[in-house]
């Protein structure tokens, strides 16, 4: 999953504390790349979940419990992605509310 250290460095949070510019870590992936890859992962899980659902509906599924597992995984990963998005947006709102 996402490494918190690289997340904070990607958002530039490390430089706020020290009030001096720090070189961003070149080795780690950027925040944008991380966001993109995790969204892709969630999307893939969703697609698998939909496939399992249509498999149940059309009677193609031979293994009901594995289809149910795929759907549950899809639901949980989507929930996690939603909560992360909500957190990011609320952090952004907090910053826009800041008095200068």
């Amino acid at each position: 999953m996402i490494n918190i250290e690289s997340l904070s460095s990607g958002m530039g949070l490390g430089s706020i504390a020290g009030l001096q510019k720090q070189e961003p870590k070149v080795s780690g992936a950027t925040f944008e790349q991380m966001l993109k890859s995790s969204i892709e992962e969630v999307n893939n899980t969703q697609l698998q979940g939909y496939e399992a659902m249509s498999g149940i509906a059309t009677g193609k599924v031979k293994n009901l419990q594995e289809a149910v597992q795929r759907i549950e995984e899809a639901e949980l990963s989507l929930k996690l992605a939603l909560e992360v998005k909500n957190k990011a947006i609320s952090a952004y709102k907090e910053i826009t509310k800041m008095q200068i």
Binding site: M1, N3, E41, N63, Q65, E66, V68, Q69, E72, E73, L76, K79, L80, E83, V84, N86, K87
Partner: protein, 152 residues
């Protein structure tokens, strides 16, 4: 240990017990079968289980474990069906001279299947399946509760 490993293991247990229920159903259905493709009466079948490593490709999103510990090498094992064996117990001979499968002395070979034993086996398999479902639901509830932390 991955995020979804618990689900994989619980599902593997469900699959294994489902296979067992299928085999027990076949035993019950064929309790009176005197004629098979291979000749002779039906033979009682038994499922043999084996441990199965959780597939590596499904462990891509692994949760980081405490450093220094030896947890990185810890592999969780699910269960799988190794093979289905046929019991070699002797058939039960019954005197039925009018039966088409009777031998020259008038005895018919019936499979040595006790429906009561099969029923208890069926109940045991069903309960084990249910306990695997309980493990799955525990994982799900745990993850949902953890996600609720983010909502506050």
């Amino acid at each position: 240990m991955g995020f979804f490993d618990g689900y994989n293991i619980a599902t593997s247990g469900m699959s294994a017990q489902r296979a067992r229920i299928n085999v027990v159903s076949a035993n019950l259905a064929n309790a009176q079968t005197t004629n098979t493709v291979g000749g002779g009466p039906y033979k009682k079948q038994n499922v043999v289980f084996e441990e199965m490593l959780v597939q590596e490709k499904e462990r891509s999103n692994s949760v980081s474990m405490p450093k220094g510990g030896n947890f990185e090498n810890t592999t969780l094992r699910g269960v799988g069906v190794k093979t289905i064996i046929e019991s070699n117990s002797k058939p039960v001979m019954r005197y039925e001279p009018s039966h088409p499968d009777a031998n020259e002395k008038g005895y018919v070979a019936y499979p040595d299947i006790n429906p009561v034993v099969e029923m208890t086996d069926l109940i045991e398999a069903m309960r084990t399946y249910e306990s695997n479902i309980a493990a799955f639901q525990t994982h799900k509830n745990m993850d949902n509760k953890t996600l609720e932390i983010l909502k506050q």
